[in-house]
């Protein structure tokens, strides 16, 4: 029996049993004036627009039968809804108002139910209705935060929530992070361990991808600059034909998908228009061509600011690594390279012959890079790897008999 019968009057004997006051409604006879005289209007069933209540097309009654069970089930934990509904029903002034208030409750109830057991509700009734409520329910997800974790709740990982998650994980260490500890650190009550565990799993797999791509990116960018790529503009005050200036800003490379945008997938050797990037014409097998990179990016990609807190999405990767490549790598400066260097043939800059793939760095460039770090230690790290634990390093060094770090005497 539906608990939501909008308006009942003890006096409406003409009404069907549907409107029976078996739910224990009592109507204050003093308020009788406020109630429309339904008896005059004929059968309440005809008057009450159930579509109004439930917003549905099609057969409504079967749904109504199922509803009360679910409603009463839900109401047991939240706002004494059953009493609320009865009082609501009691106070009906007009059908419309009642309908609204009930549908309001109904919606909220359904949305809770949706939250709680969307998959488990087996409805014979109108799926439209379910869908309608689901869409409203999903927006209410965040509001309904106080679920006691009895049911499987679909958690909306908002950026803020995710940020706290990442903080907690980094604090614990990615590999050592345990969902229960993460939960503690996050201090969020609407999450279950299960939610956190599955999110952690996704996070870890995403990181794996990301780091693999970073390794790729490091390689690509190094190659680009070994060929003295025309980066197209003054970077930090140096012109493209001169020495590259250090770029003080980024410590993190952007996610490689951004990086790939700079490449054109097909190069023709010696083609004069290929000035943007002179990249190795060899695609490593496991690197997808840029145009098809990430056809279905995991949702994390769009959240990339959270992985790279210092990263400004628009900044190209190039400047940070470009700084390291000096010496015979700059366009337009002809050098006679010692034969063992496979960097490039210094013919006519870059319109001409393609350099072979440089898979071993030149001594000069390595030396230059190292010198750079020694003289300017404040420069950002090109890869931004997680630093080693100082204690771990020191312990290990002591084991090997190294006590003075940094060494005061000269190394031998």
């Amino acid at each position: 029996m539906l608990a939501l019968s909008p308006a009942t009057r003890n006096g409406c004997d003409g009404a069907s049993e549907f409107l029976d006051t078996s739910c224990g409604f009592t109507i204050n006879p003093e308020e009788e004036d406020e109630f429309p005289d339904f008896a005059d209007h004929g059968d309440l069933l005809d008057i009450i627009d159930f579509d109004d209540i439930f917003g549905v097309a099609g057969d409504v009654l079967p749904d109504l039968e199922i509803d009360p069970e679910i409603l009463s089930g839900d109401f047991s934990d939240h706002m004494n809804a059953s009493s609320t509904i009865t009082t609501t029903s009691d106070k009906t002034d007009s059908q419309g108002e009642t309908n609204k208030s009930i549908s309001g409750k109904g919606e909220e109830v359904v949305s809770k139910r949706d939250d709680a057991a969307a998959e488990t509700v087996t409805y014979d009734g109108d799926s439209d209705r379910k869908r309608k409520y689901s869409s409203s329910a999903s927006s209410k997800n965040n509001r309904i935060s106080n679920n006691e974790g009895k049911r499987k709740v679909k958690v909306d990982w908002t950026p803020e929530l995710h940020r706290r998650f990442v903080e907690a994980v980094e604090q614990l260490g990615v590999d050592k992070a345990v969902p229960s500890r993460i939960l503690e650190l996050m201090g969020v009550h609407c999450l279950t361990r299960h939610n956190v565990a599955s999110h952690l799993q996704k996070y870890r797999s995403h990181r794996k991808h990301l780091l693999a791509r970073e390794a790729e990116a490091a390689n690509w960018t190094r190659k680009r600059h070994i060929y003295g790529v025309d980066t197209g503009s003054n970077i930090n005050g140096r012109n493209k034909n001169g020495w590259l200036a250090p770029a003080p800003t980024l410590g993190f490379p952007p996610p490689p998908p951004v990086h790939h945008h700079h490449f054109r997938p097909l190069h023709v050797w010696g083609h004069p228009t290929v000035d943007q990037s002179i990249m190795p014409h060899v695609w490593p097998k496991h690197l997808p061509p840029p145009s098809t990179a990430m056809p279905n990016p995991p949702f994390w990609v769009s959240d990339s600011p959270y992985w790279h807190p210092m990263h400004n999405g628009a900044t190209p990767y190039l400047p940070t690594v470009a700084t390291r490549f000096r010496g015979p790598l700059v366009a337009g400066i002809p050098h006679a390279l010692p034969p063992h260097h496979t960097v490039y043939k210094p013919n006519h800059g870059f319109g001409g012959a393609r350099p072979p793939v440089d898979l071993h760095p030149s001594k000069e460039s390595v030396d230059a890079a190292i010198g750079d770090v020694l003289t300017r230690p404040w420069l950002p790290l090109p890869l931004g790897l997680k630093p080693p634990a100082v204690d771990g390093v020191m312990t290990e060094l002591h084991r090997h008999g190294v006590s003075k770090v940094p060494p005061t005497a000269s190394c031998a």
Partner: protein, 91 residues
């Protein structure tokens, strides 16, 4: 004592930085130890220790990096072949 610790930490950070530079050049651990000793006078044992610790903290990165480095010989070969092909092609 605190000073000692911070100088240790900054030294380790320096070595870390240098190692990252070497990785950008696709160098391996031994090459790195060699380069850092030659160009920065850093004891190979120090380089190797810091490298190993970095590896522990960044397992996935180093795994991917090693896999990448293994590809190099085949890359070289492919590069050679393509070069060869293109030099023989007339457009």
């Amino acid at each position: 004592m605190g000073d000692h610790n911070s100088s240790q930490a900054s030294y380790i950070h320096l070595v870390h930085h240098l190692i990252e530079e070497c990785i950008v050049f696709n160098m391996g651990k031994e090459e790195c130890m060699d380069a850092l000793f030659k160009h920065a006078n850093i004891k190979p044992i120090v380089t190797s220790t810091v490298w190993k610790e970095l590896e522990k903290e960044n397992k996935e990165f180093f795994e991917a990096y090693e896999r990448r480095r293994e590809e190099i010989p085949t890359e070289k070969e492919t590069a050679r072949r393509i070069r060869d092909l293109l030099s023989r092609t007339t457009i």
